[in-house]
Structures are given as structure tokens and as C-alpha cells.
């Protein structure tokens, strides 16, 4: 493992990769700060650029963007009470009241230190867990993988959209349908191409991500008439106050950070749970842990109330890399986008990645940590300046997002058809978003579609067409039981809420 860490450090600390981490963190912070635009959009916008680099550099850039966007999301939560991503909603509970009290700088500093600490602790867990799990997952067979993929989709559908399980499942199916367009991988038979050459290679992953996230988010902002810059005017972005944290506050954070990190990491590893659930659970858990007088401060600018969700959401981000790197199965929408990018580089994440591409495996882990250090050193002092980006009027912001989306696809295909297809998907996604149809399950399903079909093919061929492969092995049975439990729990909770 030490050798691997050194390989990772060597790759991550090369001049080019260090620059990429810095650029990624900076760009991610700016994009993540804009309300409505989260890490998925930030990464999606970066994908066409990363294809110009080698896989390790491209992934390092994306990891930087990821952490930058999460940090940026916290900034908009604290400063304008407009969380850039669901994972930072809990941050605004105490962060925004603190900013209203004239302690915006302090709130940002607490968020940054907590994120850094949460990220550091979970990076250590990741270092330990990933190689061990890689070895265990070598014993997984096609039926187990097929089951795990269904489990991932079901869990994302169940957890990512509370009360919208059926809508999320419909989005999963839509994602799988989109993934099935193009030539069949084994027989080269065209499917759903409608005799169009443009569809014979299938629909590009970048196109779907850009359309369902960057573009449809921009269109949703317009159609709903949200103007982030209006919210930014409510609080002075030029005077954020001191960023110094007192001894007493440090003491309070010291108690909160370890427990929130552990909780965040564990939640992050679970498929579908992710940063949002981790941050809410950590907030709730912290509220139960503190003394009564401190409990009353929650929601009014409590240090622990701000530190807990920030620590947990960052820890969950690292945790979500465990299933991606070890099993090749993303546990969240963001890691699904990263899996798509990895496949674009010709790299198949999974247990063998640890052996076949140790430089990539370890450099991603190490660069994640370096990214956090960069965020702390570079972004915290720059926050008063970066925060002014929140005041950029949407009249400029939206066309820029649309321009980058269209250009991203144009540069990849030099084809009008892809641009029209992207606009079409973006319009449909915007309508679906208006009615609360979640997009992360669609992306996760789109990325997993090919792998799922491949594993089902192998399983059915091995079992000679019998579905008994679902209960032949104890591991597969366990996975299937978990899936059934999630589905029944969803149905039961829906029934309960309807009765109320």
C-alpha cells in the first residue's frame, strides 16, 4: 500500500497535475457556487476538456472540480441561503444565520476547516478500505455484479428522491433505454437507430450529461424566473467579516468532526445515500449529542450545527469513491458521471483497476486529498473575491452555460445532429425537472446500462437461460434480499404517508 501511495503521490504532485488540481478546485468552486449548478454540472462541463489529457490528469482535474463544487455549494448556502447542491442544504441551517449576524467570513472558515477535516479523515478510511475491498470484490461474479447494479439503481431511486420512488424508477428505465440505443456490443446489430447513421454509435454520455444537467439546469433557472444575483444582493458580498475561528469554537468543532466524518464516510459508501443524507443525518445526530443550551442555538448560527453537515458531506464524497473504484459501480450521480468519463478514457474501474492501473487508482485518491489542501490554502483567502461571482447577472450566466454545453458537444462530434439531440433531451429534462422527476437516477442508469446488459448476458448464458442465477449464490441472494427490502420499504412508507 505504501508503494501505491508513493506512486499516487508522484503522479499527483507532478507540475501538470498540481496545476490541474488548482484549476479544477477553482473552476469547481465558481460553478458550484452558482445556485442550481452542482458538482455534476461542473464535472459535465469539464469532460470535453479532460479528453485532451491522459486519464490520470483528466481524473485529477475532475476530482478537483468535484471538491471545488462541493465547497462552492457551501459558500452559496452560507452567503445567500441558496444551496448550490442538495448536499449543502443542511449547511444553510446555521451557516446563513451566522452570515446574517455579520459573521459570514467565520462561517465560511468553519465550513472550510470542517470540510478539510472531514475529507482528511475519510481519505484515510478510503486508503484503508479501497484496497481491501478490491481484493474481496475479486470474488464477485456476473450475477453478483448484475444484482449490485440493480441494488445501486434501486438505492439511488429510493434515497435520492424522497417520496418520488416511482418517478426515480421511471428515470432509471429512461436512462437504460437511452443507453440501449446504437449497435449491440456483441453482435453489432443496430438497435433503436431508426436507420440513422448518427445513432449507430449510440448516444454520447457527454451529450446526455450536458443535456440533463448543464443545459436543463440553465433552462430551469430561466423558466422558473430564478435570479441568483437578486439573492446575492441581500447580503454584502464585499464585507464578509473576519475568517478567524476562536479557541472555544475550535474546541466545539474538534468534538463534532470525528463523529460526523465516520458517519459521513459510512453513508457515502452505501449506494445511493450520498452527501445529502449524510449531511442531514450528521446535523440531526449532532443536535442529539450537544448539551441543552447548545441545542437551542441550532438553526440560529451554531458552530456545531454548521460543522457537522459540512464534515459529513465531504466525508461522504470520499466514501462514494469506494464502490466506484473497487466495484466499478457508482453510488451517486456524481460518481456515475466520473465512471462515464473513465469509460471514455478506456478504463474500466473495478477490482482489477487496483492491479492494472495502480497509478490511476492511487493518484485519484491522493489528488483528492491534495485537492482539499488546495481548497483550504487557495480558496479560503480568495473567498471574498470569488464570492462576488454570485452577483453575476443571469443574463450573462445562462448564455455562457448554454454556450459551453453546445461547444462541448460540437467539439466532440462536429455534427449538427448531436446538438439538436442535446437540445431535445434538455427540453424534455427541463419539463421533467419542473414536475420533480430526478435526474441523477437517469445518469446512473445510462452509465450502468451497458455493464448491466453485459452481466445479465453472461449470467443468463451461464445458467442456460434460467433466472436461478439470482438465488444460486449466497452473495447474490443477500443482494436480492436487500433490493426487495428497499422496494417494500418504499411501498410501505408510501402507503403510510397516504394514510396520514
Amino acid at each position: 500500500m505504501i508503494e501505491g501511495i508513493l506512486i499516487g503521490l508522484k503522479t499527483a504532485l507532478s507540475f501538470q497535475n498540481l496545476m490541474m488540481v488548482m484549476i479544477g478546485c477553482f473552476a469547481g468552486t465558481i460553478i458550484g457556487m452558482l445556485p442550481g449548478l452542482g458538482p455534476m454540472t461542473a464535472i459535465a462541463l469539464m469532460i470535453p476538456i479532460t479528453y485532451g489529457f491522459d486519464p490520470a490528469t483528466g481524473l485529477i482535474l475532475m476530482a478537483g472540480v468535484y471538491y471545488g463544487a462541493v465547497f462552492g455549494g457551501s459558500t452559496s448556502s452560507i452567503l445567500i441561503n441558496a444551496p448550490g447542491v442538495p448536499g449543502t442544504v443542511a449547511t444553510s441551517f446555521d451557516g446563513y444565520p451566522m452570515a446574517q449576524q455579520g459573521k459570514a467570513g467565520k462561517a465560511l472558515a468553519i465550513a472550510a476547516y470542517s470540510s478539510f477535516a472531514g475529507g482528511t479523515i475519510s481519505a484515510i478510511f478510503l486508503l484503508i478500505a479501497a484496497p481491501s475491498l478490491s481484493k474481496v470484490s475479486l470474488s464477485f461474479r456476473s450475477p453478483d455484479y448484475f444484482g449490485l447494479m440493480i441494488l445501486g439503481l434501486t438505492a439511488v431511486a429510493a434515497f435520492s428522491s424522497k417520496g418520488n420512488f416511482l418517478k426515480a424508477m421511471m428515470m432509471c428505465i429512461l436512462g437504460l433505454m437511452l443507453a440501449s440505443v446504437g449497435q449491440d456490443t456483441l453482435s453489432d446489430i443496430p438497435r433503436f437507430t431508426f436507420n440513422t447513421m448518427n445513432l449507430s454509435d449510440g448516444i454520447s454520455f457527454v451529450l446526455v450529461v450536458m443535456a440533463t444537467f448543464a443545459m436543463s439546469e440553465a433552462l430551469t433557472i430561466i423558466i422558473k424566473g430564478n435570479d441568483p444575483s437578486k439573492a446575492a444582493k441581500q447580503i454584502s458580498l464585499t464585507d464578509l467579516g473576519s475568517i478567524r475561528v476562536s479557541k472555544e469554537e475550535t474546541k466545539q468543532m474538534a468534538a463534532t468532526i470525528p463523529r460526523s466524518s465516520i458517519l459521513g464516510f459510512i453513508i457515502g459508501v452505501l449506494p445511493g445515500a450520498g452527501a445529502t443524507i449524510a449531511s442531514f443525518l450528521a446535523y440531526g445526530m449532532e443536535r442529539n449529542f450537544v448539551k441543552r443550551e447548545e441545542k437551542e442555538k441550532f438553526g440560529k448560527g451554531s458552530v456545531q450545527g454548521l460543522s457537522a453537515p459540512e464534515t459529513a458531506n465531504n466525508a461522504a464524497c470520499s466514501g462514494s469513491f469506494v464502490p466506484l473504484l473497487t466495484l466499478g459501480i457508482p453510488g451517486s450521480g456524481t460518481t456515475a458521471v466520473m465512471l462515464g468519463a473513465l469509460l471514455g478514457f478506456g478504463i474500466q474501474p473495478g477490482p482489477r483497476l487496483y492491479e492494472t492501473n495502480p497509478d490511476i487508482f492511487w493518484s485519484v485518491i491522493m489528488s483528492m486529498y491534495i485537492g482539499m489542501v488546495v481548497l483550504l490554502i487557495l480558496n479560503l483567502p480568495l473567498i471574498p473575491y470569488i464570492a462576488r461571482i454570485l452577483a453575476v447577472p443571469r443574463t450573462f450566466l445562462i448564455p455562457m452555460i448554454l454556450f459551453f454545453s453546445v461547444t462541448g458537444i460540437y467539439l466532440m462530434s462536429f455534427n449538427n445532429f448531436d446538438i439538436f439531440l442535446m437540445i431535445g433531451i434538455a427540453v424534455v429534462a427541463t419539463i421533467l425537472r419542473l414536475y420533480d422527476f430526478p435526474m441523477p437516477p437517469l445518469i446512473l442508469a445510462f452509465v450502468l446500462g451497458g455493464l448491466m446488459e453485459e452481466n445479465l448476458r453472461r449470467s443468463l448464458l451461464i445458467s442456460d437461460g434460467s433466472w436461478s442465477f439470482l438465488w444460486d449464490r449466497p452473495l447474490t441472494i443477500c443482494i436480492m434480499i436487500t433490493i426487495l427490502l428497499i422496494v417494500f420499504w418504499q411501498i410501505f412508507s408510501s402507503y403510510k404517508s397516504l394514510k396520514k
Partner: protein, 156 residues
């Protein structure tokens, strides 16, 4: 059963799944693959059924959290104008070239969204695209087709 927009979307999804299932059955597989446990149409067929199942459930079951979007609060005009601008942009980018089509797309988009400060509109369109093109074409060596600039002699 109360009909609302979510039910209508679910119904459309049901029809889409049915069409998908029909198309999946039409996929031509090799003769030796016809009776195989798995061929090119197996997975799509399951997907078609799954899509019909979930959308069917959504249509039939009562809504847990009914959502109705009030159309009076939605900015349809701006959104449609912007989508049309994007379509025109997509249609002209190859023929007119990247520089002019992108710059005009940005100018019109800023204008449609309500920007009237022409100084900023101009700065963040033509010079911005020129710098972007220089970075892509000149620095990163990414090919950008531009018949107009080629005709003028600016691009090789």
C-alpha cells in the same frame, strides 16, 4: 383517480415504453441467435416491460405529493426564444462557422434574457469568442471548422 400533469407525463412514458417494447421486438437478430437465452433484443424487451410497469403504477396509484406548476409564474417566452436561438445556432455552426454563429448566439441570448447594456453584450460575445477560439485552436490545437474566417484568411 385525479388527473394531473404528473399523471399525463406518466401516461406519455407508458406510451413511450410500449413503443420501445414494440421496436425491441422488431430488432433483427441473427438466425442462430433467435433461440439463444440472450440476444440483442432480450434486454430491451425487459426494459420495455419495466417502463410500462413503473409508469403504469404511477398512473394508477394516488399521488403522495401532488405537484402542480402554476404556468402563470413560468417564463415561457424567454425559454422558447432561447431554445429557438440554440436550434438556429446548432443549424448554422457548421455552415457559417464557429466564430460568427457563436458570437451572434451569445448576443441574441443576452438580449432575449433582458440585457440591454450593449457595451457588455459586445465584450462578452465577439472578443470573448475570439479569445476562446484562440485558446482552443491556437494553444490546445483543437480543430475548429470556420469557413468564414478561412475565406477572410484569418484561419488556415
Amino acid at each position: 383517480m385525479k388527473i394531473n400533469s404528473v399523471k399525463i407525463i406518466s401516461l406519455l412514458f407508458f406510451i413511450l415504453s410500449a413503443f420501445y417494447l414494440y421496436t425491441a421486438h422488431q430488432i433483427q437478430v441473427f438466425a442462430f441467435d433467435e433461440g439463444a437465452p440472450f440476444n440483442a433484443k432480450t434486454f430491451p424487451i425487459y426494459l420495455g416491460y419495466a417502463g410500462m410497469f413503473f409508469s403504469g403504477l404511477k398512473i394508477v396509484l394516488p399521488d403522495q405529493k401532488p405537484i402542480e406548476v402554476d404556468p402563470t409564474y413560468l417564463e415561457f417566452k424567454k425559454t422558447i426564444l432561447l431554445v429557438l436561438t440554440m436550434i438556429v445556432y446548432g443549424a448554422t455552426i457548421l455552415k457559417v462557422g464557429f466564430f460568427l454563429s457563436t458570437s451572434l448566439f451569445l448576443v441574441f441570448s443576452y438580449y432575449f434574457l433582458g440585457e440591454r447594456r450593449w457595451k457588455f453584450i459586445i465584450i462578452f460575445s465577439f472578443p470573448f469568442v475570439a479569445i476562446f477560439m484562440y485558446l482552443l485552436h491556437g494553444v490546445l490545437a483543437v480543430y475548429l471548422r470556420d469557413p468564414l474566417l478561412k475565406y477572410i484568411g484569418i484561419m488556415g
